[in-house]
């Protein structure tokens, strides 16, 4: 569970942004406790850890969290509806979401709906920029988002209750607990969010008529040290969502969408100072039901079952770290439009890292998959980092990455004028990135420049017979620059932190040289926090510049900025009882904006929160 310290959040946020910077202090036990070890050792690029205080503010959906706190561009079909990311100008299926080390992108769509991930009860959330298909598999092209549970092996017992109420009859209830001893630990969190979501469309006399939603999210984990050098861990996550899907300004909707996701992972590790063996068993289930007219009984559905077995062996040879992974997965998909989709994948991965003296680290990573229904490319990455000193380093990496064809793309039943394509190939990309980091006590400055050359991008188009089918049609190149600056200062009881990021992104269709749709050239985020004693005031803002909404760049959607303002106060009632109350105003300046054309986002709204921690 998150180790929440309400009054010391600034100190926490001073503790560094870059995952790599912390690795030196990691012990073997720490490492075994952490499941997503590839993020730790084999991600020699830009990794931003989102701190507890940030997750606290924007913790009810991954969309909310990342649009205010990362360079990822998100587009939502109205608040709470389907939300898809564009990371470095790539498409929605080119961002991987990694849950405790496992890729959880939908096998049906290739994407994760960022409104179905509730970040609040994860111990650690990181955003890793750049290609990572070798380490994290399909879809890690623009980058990946990592959700990790954190185990605490010490004697503790903590409970936290959060209730909030806000505009549009939005209620949030969250309970989380973490109990542990030196050998056993249990974490549990449940979050329930419900909203009428009937905000008015600014500048019209319409409201968001069919936008009500609710979701339940459960996180649970158990860790037990079986014997010296042997650890057993179990992770679980369930998400149940029920959403009426909003219409648009020009067309009302009466549809409803229910989805259910269950993720389970059992991991056994056996380790000593030099070697770690891990065996993992995973089971993932996803299901959706779509009611085109919610008044009626009829619906369409799809579901997939994923079974996976993973063996991971890591050896530490003084300055060299070697990690070999063999991963087998069996996936089956069924649905109204999918019949008997089955996929067997055997993936082999070799990761290598070498610390060449104190200043230079470099690595090489290889992955090859053997899949029954398409040909998977050999992917690789190379990286190097040079540290001038403890606070200043530069890095370079290059990689080949891919996104596998989804079950919809391969197995969609031919009928009604559309059908899957059994000859579809994976999307692939080559990319390179350089970056630099300065990290001192009071500031962190980072920049990164990237170039991605993608080919065989998949789009649905009518074929010669007029049947809509996915084809590998488009090549694109993306390039850009990301800059971030964080400042922190304190004077006595006054603490100020100021986090800023700016991303310049160009994504261009290689054939037409038009910009890709829904990629803003500029994105800015900023967040300023001032704390005095028990009081805390924050202001956060993100700005997206205009995006094209047609592929020939003939029409665009104007840019927008959205600001939130929040004030909170903590009370220490007894030795072990803390209460925090807060008021948050979202869309402070009541901006009328859309991030998908014709789908307005909410007007100004408020949220009241009460948090009790024992």
């Amino acid at each position: 569970m998150r180790n929440y310290k309400p009054f010391f959040f600034i100190l926490i946020s001073l503790c560094g942004v870059c995952g790599y910077a912390q690795r030196d202090s990691i012990t073997v036990l720490d490492e075994v406790i952490l499941t997503d070890v590839r993020l730790l050792h084999f991600s020699n690029g830009k990794v931003d850890v989102l701190k507890d205080s940030i997750v606290d503010r924007n913790g009810s959906s991954l969309t909310d969290l990342l649009q205010f706190n990362s360079s990822i561009y998100l587009k939502e079909n109205g608040l709470g509806m389907i939300s898809s990311p564009s990371f470095r100008g790539t498409n929605a299926s080119q961002t991987a979401v990694i849950w405790n080390g496992i890729n959880i992108n939908s096998q049906l769509t290739g994407q994760v709906d960022f409104n179905t991930i509730v970040p609040r009860n994860y111990g650690s959330i990181s955003v890793r920029s750049g290609g990572g298909s070798v380490q994290f598999g399909s879809g890690a092209i623009g980058g990946s988002v990592h959700l990790n549970d954190v185990f605490r092996f010490d004697k503790h017992s903590e409970h936290q209750l959060l209730v909030s109420y806000g505009s549009f009859d939005t209620k949030n209830f969250n309970y989380s607990t973490s109990i542990g001893t030196k050998r056993t630990t249990v974490g549990f969190g449940v979050n329930y969010l419900v909203s009428e979501n009937d905000y008015k469309y600014l500048g019209t006399d319409q409201r968001n008529e069919n936008g009500a939603f609710n979701n339940i999210n459960v996180n649970a984990n158990v860790g037990h040290e079986i014997a010296e050098g042997q650890l057993l861990k179990f992770y679980h996550n369930t998400f149940i969502g029920d959403r009426d899907f909003s219409g648009t300004i020009t067309a009302s909707s009466n549809s409803n969408y229910r989805d259910y996701n269950s993720r389970n992972l059992l991991e056994w590790s056996h380790f000593n100072e030099k070697r770690i063996h891990r065996v993992k068993f995973g089971y993932l289930y996803e299901k959706y039901k779509y009611y085109d007219n919610k008044e009626r009984e009829s619906f369409t559905f799809g579901n997939t079952n994923t079974f996976l077995v993973n063996y991971d062996y890591k050896i530490d040879l003084n300055d060299i770290i070697l990690n070999g992974i063999v991963d087998y997965s069996y996936i089956e998909a069924k649905g109204t439009d999918i019949e008997n989709g089955k996929r067997n994948t055997l993936a082999t991965t070799l990761l290598f890292k070498h610390n060449l003296g104190e200043k230079i680290t470099y690595g090489a990573n290889l992955r090859k998959e053997f899949v029954n229904d398409y040909k998977s490319p050999f992917v690789y990455s190379l990286n190097a980092r040079y540290s001038f000193n403890s606070y200043h380093s530069v890095y370079f990496n290059a990689s080949k990455n891919y996104r596998v064809p989804t079950f919809n793309e391969v197995y969609w039943i031919l009928g009604g004028g559309s059908g899957g394509n059994p000859d579809i190939r994976p999307e692939s990309s080559l990319q390179a990135e350089i970056g630099q980091t300065f990290k001192k006590e009071k500031y962190t400055f980072q920049w990164a420049a990237f170039y991605i050359d993608s080919e065989n991008l998949i789009q649905w188009r009518p074929n010669n017979d007029g049947i809509w089918t996915p084809i590998n049609i488009k090549d694109a190149s993306n390039y850009g620059l990301e800059v971030s600056l964080e400042l922190a200062e304190k004077w006595g009881n006054h603490h100020v932190t100021w986090k800023n990021s700016y991303a310049l992104t160009e994504a261009v269709d290689s054939e037409t040289e038009n910009s890709l749709m829904y990629v803003p050239r500029h994105k800015v985020t900023t967040s300023l926090t001032y704390a005095y004693s028990d009081w805390r005031l924050f202001y956060q803002l993100f700005v997206n510049s205009s995006v094209f909404v047609t592929s020939d760049n003939s029409e665009s959607l104007s840019g927008y900025s959205v600001s939130n303002l929040g004030l909170s106060r903590g009370f220490k009632i007894k030795e072990k009882l803390n209460i925090e109350t807060s008021l948050q105003v979202n869309n402070l300046f009541n901006k009328n904006y859309q991030n998908v054309a014709y789908r307005p986002m909410p007007n100004r709204n408020v949220q009241l929160k009460l948090k009790i921690k024992i």
């Binding site: 020009t250 009829s298 009604g416 649905w460 188009r461 009518p462 010669n464 007029g466 809509w468 020939d552």
Partner: protein, 354 residues
């Protein structure tokens, strides 16, 4: 995802769309009645998930092109998936499928006169007969039994009643006595033409034609020709396209021409007694007196999203990638030369002459 499926289906349905421009009032009017007199109107469906369709005006000499004229005149979006236009005297009725409404405008000025919303559910095409409007509606797309034709009171601009019909009413046309409805089958499949008596507003008879009837045109002797695409290969039971002639004096089938099983024609258009249709990446012609279908193409290597002929010219559209502005191509029917290429709106699905 279902959303994608819906888009795909909607887009697919649109592929079968024919321009039902059977309006006999193409008389040249001398006095200037508005900016959009004497020109071509292109109905652009617009992007399928979200957004608005538009109407593009092109002057007869193709020199003046105005995009989104409804919005220009009324500062309002037409709505999602603009399907078709019907005309009656000085009015134009713009049918908007996914917004379930019809905008009534002055056809020459494009100023809005009324909006009909009540009583429409997935409206497709409209015709006017006996002083009333008749609109095909798919009803709820998940229900194959609730399809209907709504009747519009053209004075009050409201739906006055509705007539339940078979699955998938699509193209609709009329003479002074009867209204003819081609049942292409919506998201399913059908092979019927319903005939509505315009005096009693009941379905007086139903004829069986080929599978997927997609377009209808009149010859100069007042007979109705129905073109059916036939079931495409993906249905699992591919059937041939057919061209059916209906004698409208007794509403009986006069003759039926069968295409090859793999031939799926669409977009029946007519000038005088010469029919044109698109098939297998080509355009074919057929004279109403002939006793066999053509074997040679009239125009090769063309594939239009929507096609029609008018006054010695052939008009065809290209929807490109369905997410950018489409093109209108104009061919001279005598020389078969491409004379103009004009950029229009997103997914240009209908071509009309004002």
């Amino acid at each position: 995802m279902k959303i994608n499926k819906v888009s795909v289906l909607v887009a697919m349905a649109a592929l079968f769309v024919v321009s039902c421009s059977n309006d006999d009032d193409g008389v040249v009017i001398e006095e200037v009645k508005g900016d959009y007199q004497n020109g071509i109107l292109i109905v652009n469906e617009g992007p399928f998930n979200n957004g608005s369709g538009t109407v593009t005006y092109i002057s007869n000499d193709s020199l003046l092109v105005k995009d989104a004229i409804f919005k220009l005149e009324n500062n309002e979006d037409l709505g999602n998936i603009v399907q078709s236009i019907a005309f009656d005297e000085e009015r134009a009725y713009i049918v908007v499928n996914n917004s379930h409404k019809i905008h009534v405008v002055n056809r020459y000025t494009f100023k809005s006169e009324a909006v009909i919303e009540e009583g429409l559910l997935n409206p497709r095409y409209m015709t006017v007969a006996n002083g009333k409007g008749y609109v095909t509606n798919w009803g709820d797309s998940a229900d194959e039994t609730d399809d209907y034709v709504s009747i519009i009171d053209l004075n009050a601009n409201v739906v006055s009643s509705s007539i339940p019909v078979e699955l998938g009413p699509e193209a609709i046309t009329s003479n002074s006595d009867f209204v003819y409805v081609a049942h292409q089958g919506a998201f399913g499949q059908n092979n019927k033409v319903s005939i509505i008596d315009a005096s009693t507003d009941v379905v007086s008879s139903t004829l069986t034609v080929g599978d997927f009837p997609n377009s209808m045109q009149w010859d100069t002797s007042g007979n109705l020709w129905v073109l059916s695409g036939g079931a495409p290969e993906y249905t699992g039971e591919e059937t041939n396209g057919t061209l059916t002639e209906i004698n409208t004096s007794d509403n009986s089938i006069v003759q039926t021409f069968d295409f090859e099983t793999t031939e799926h024609p669409g977009d029946l258009s007519v000038e005088d007694d010469t029919f044109y249709f698109g098939m297998s990446n080509a355009v074919y012609t057929f004279e109403s007196g002939l006793d066999a279908l053509p074997t040679e193409a009239f125009l090769n290597n063309v594939s239009f999203y929507s096609m029609t002929v008018n006054d010695g010219k052939l008009y065809g559209t290209d929807a490109k990638d369905y997410a950018s502005k489409g093109d209108l191509f104009i061919y001279d029917l005598n020389t078969k030369e491409l004379t103009n290429t004009i950029s229009v709106g997103i997914i240009p699905g209908g071509i009309y002459f004002n």
